[in-house]
């Protein structure tokens, strides 16, 4: 079980990783700056196994992949939200940070609640309750199983994705 970090609607990639801090590709340095202005205590207190829970359009704005990379590098195992911005969701899947769309869970979970997720089925469990979010697409599952997009295409070529679709 991890703890839930609850954020609101429209958390942008500028909030997750402000432009002034992403002049590096080092995951550990990015993790230290993750959410540094929106939630200054986050980077210091987050523990492996924690989950971010957010509202609508999580990760909107800039395409910077530094945002999901920084979240993953903090030890957060998944992001649960009502909805995700397109590029953020794609980036997250590509690098192996699972995202779960589940509006009911996002509305009910409070900051600091104990939380567990089953990424494969899209299930979220917190405070003794259980929600079924949207399961990931077949494509997202293939990418996740391979360990990321680079690993999938390197080992199997595009044929792997063409046969999934």
């Amino acid at each position: 079980m991890g703890r839930a970090w609850v954020l609101g609607d429209g958390v942008s990639t500028d909030a997750i990783m402000p432009g002034r801090f992403n002049l590096t590709t080092d995951p550990a340095a990015l993790a230290r700056a993750c959410l540094c202005e929106a939630r200054p205590e986050f980077a210091g207190a987050v523990r492996a196994g924690d989950v971010i829970v957010a509202g609508r359009n999580f990760g909107c704005g800039s395409s910077r992949e530094h945002a999901p990379v920084s979240i993953r590098a903090t030890g957060v195992i998944a992001v649960v939200a009502i909805s995700f911005a397109r590029i953020f969701a794609r980036n997250a899947v590509n690098i192996g940070l699972p995202v779960i769309r589940c509006a009911d869970a996002a509305a009910a979970i409070a900051d600091g609640d104990e939380i567990a997720v089953d990424v494969r089925s899209g299930t979220v469990i917190a405070g003794g309750r259980r929600w079924s979010g949207e399961p990931p697409s077949a494509l997202a599952v293939r990418i996740a199983e391979a360990g990321g997009l680079v690993e999938l295409v390197r080992s199997s070529g595009w044929a792997a994705l063409e046969s999934t679709t």
């Binding site: 429209g10 942008s12 500028d14 909030a15 402000p18 432009g19 002034r20 992403n22 002049l23 590096t24 590709t25 202005e37 929106a38 609508r56 359009n57 909107c60 704005g61 800039s62 395409s63 910077r64 992949e65 530094h66 999901p68 990379v69 909805s83 911005a85 397109r86 590029i87 794609r90 980036n91 590509n94 690098i95 494509l139 990321g148 997009l149 680079v150 690993e151 295409v153 390197r154 070529g157 595009w158 994705l161 063409e162 999934t164 679709t165």
Partner: protein, 411 residues
């Protein structure tokens, strides 16, 4: 049969496609800039494959150019080394990536372009299917020349009415953004059409396609016509896609007759008001530039308003022509001199202060009027600064008044 985006992708992959299909498609050109290229290079290196085609790769230094810190200089150095090692010659430090991609002809009607930047939707304004992705996707394209897409559903925006001076495409796009919201076109293509769009210049259409990204869209597209072909210096004889019996998820009708100049009020780009609602708000910094509004027409509007006027002593104004070509042309026409004499600072082509790293970073409690596309807290510096977004006409009037001003009432 299909929407503009279905037709373009279908032509390119050689079979009919429909919204919801997933396709693996060839990419004509992929680009990354100084912030996103380093992660793309790392992803490419993990592929352990040769570069697919150096001609189809473009690298642009624009976000922090020239380097403002040692960290930025090291990123630039890394990109230059990669380019040298892999014989990539399309390396530019002459303006914002999205402007360079059009000026240099990498984005063409009917093509497929992927950029490691969210506003890569811009070239849809000239009838190209172009979209923003992250660095890993671009790294994989560098190695394979291909990527996967889910063919998007299409939201049609039908614009009618006369755009009376000083209204521009920026006002139209902000108005639509306010109506449908920052996720109103999530995962969709926005297809811009109607008599008003048909009368727009290519620059204006590029602004519509650009701001489609801020509606959540995967692409923003306009049909190719004589204006497009003139704007890009002739077509390449590729088949021109048109919507044929298209099925849209929805159609938004906008009549711009009597529309006020539009302003996005912090903290969100979709919190859009008529300028009279916020007129009089004191402003500390005005920024004219960005991939949305740093084009020649925008510099012209700014110079025309500033001619014979001066920037208010309580504010400062930063003007950044979006590319070298725009900068030199504006110089030739005397517009840069007018802008400088009015008291504004003119910076070298690039993203300027848009993303808060250089050329006008703002302090807590300050208010900015910007012609860019994003006003998230922290975007231009302190998270406690407020950013308003509007057209160059509103920005110029605001710079002179020192507070948000309606350009229709020159004082």
């Amino acid at each position: 049969m299909g929407t503009l985006v279905e037709e373009i992708i279908g032509n390119r992959v050689g079979r009919r496609v429909a919204a919801g299909d997933t396709v693996v498609a060839p990419v004509d050109c992929a680009f990354a800039h100084d912030v996103t290229a380093p992660l793309a290079i790392e992803a490419f290196e993990r592929m352990e494959m040769p570069l697919h085609d150096p001609q189809r790769v473009v690298l642009v230094f624009d976000h922090v150019m020239p380097a403002a810190t040692v960290a930025a200089a090291e990123l630039h150095q890394r990109i230059r080394r990669f380019a040298a090692d892999h014989a990539v010659r399309n390396l530019f430090a002459e303006g914002i990536c999205h402007i360079v991609m059009v000026e240099r002809g990498y984005a063409r009607p009917g093509g497929i372009v992927v950029g490691a930047d969210s506003h890569s939707t811009t070239y849809g304004g000239l009838g190209c299917f172009s979209t923003g992705m992250g660095s890993t996707d671009v790294g994989v394209i560098l190695a394979t020349g291909r990527t996967w897409f889910r063919v998007p559903e299409t939201l049609r925006v039908e614009v009618s009415g006369e755009l009376a001076q000083p209204l521009t495409a920026k006002d139209v796009a902000l108005h639509v953004l306010g109506r449908i919201g920052g996720d109103g076109a999530d995962y969709m293509a926005v297809e811009w059409g109607g008599e008003t769009v048909e009368r727009m210049t290519l620059d204006q259409r590029l602004t519509l396609a650009n701001l489609s990204a801020d509606m959540g869209a995967k692409a923003g597209l306009c049909e190719v016509d004589a204006t497009t072909v003139r704007g890009i210096g002739g077509d390449d004889g590729v088949p021109i896609a048109r919507p044929r019996s298209p099925r849209y998820v929805d159609t938004v009708h906008v009549d711009v007759t009597g529309l006020q100049p539009q302003v996005a009020v912090p903290p969100a780009a979709d919190n859009v008001h008529g300028v009279t609602d916020v007129a009089g708000t004191p402003i500390d910094e005005v920024y004219v530039g960005s991939c949305t509004n740093g084009r020649l027409e925008d510099i012209e509007v700014t110079a025309a308003y500033l001619s014979g006027r001066t920037v208010h002593p309580d504010t400062r104004m930063v003007v950044v022509p979006a590319s070298r070509r725009i900068y030199t042309e504006a110089l030739r026409r005397g517009w840069i001199e007018t802008i400088i004499e009015a008291g504004a600072l003119v910076m070298n082509p690039g993203c300027g202060p848009c993303l808060g790293r250089q050329h006008g970073v703002v302090a807590a409690g300050e208010r900015v009027m910007s012609t860019s596309n994003r006003n998230y807290p922290g975007r231009m510096g302190s998270p406690d600064a407020e950013i308003y977004l509007a057209s160059p006409a509103v920005a110029a009037a605001t710079a002179v008044a020192g507070r948000i001003a309606d350009p229709r009432r020159a004082h």
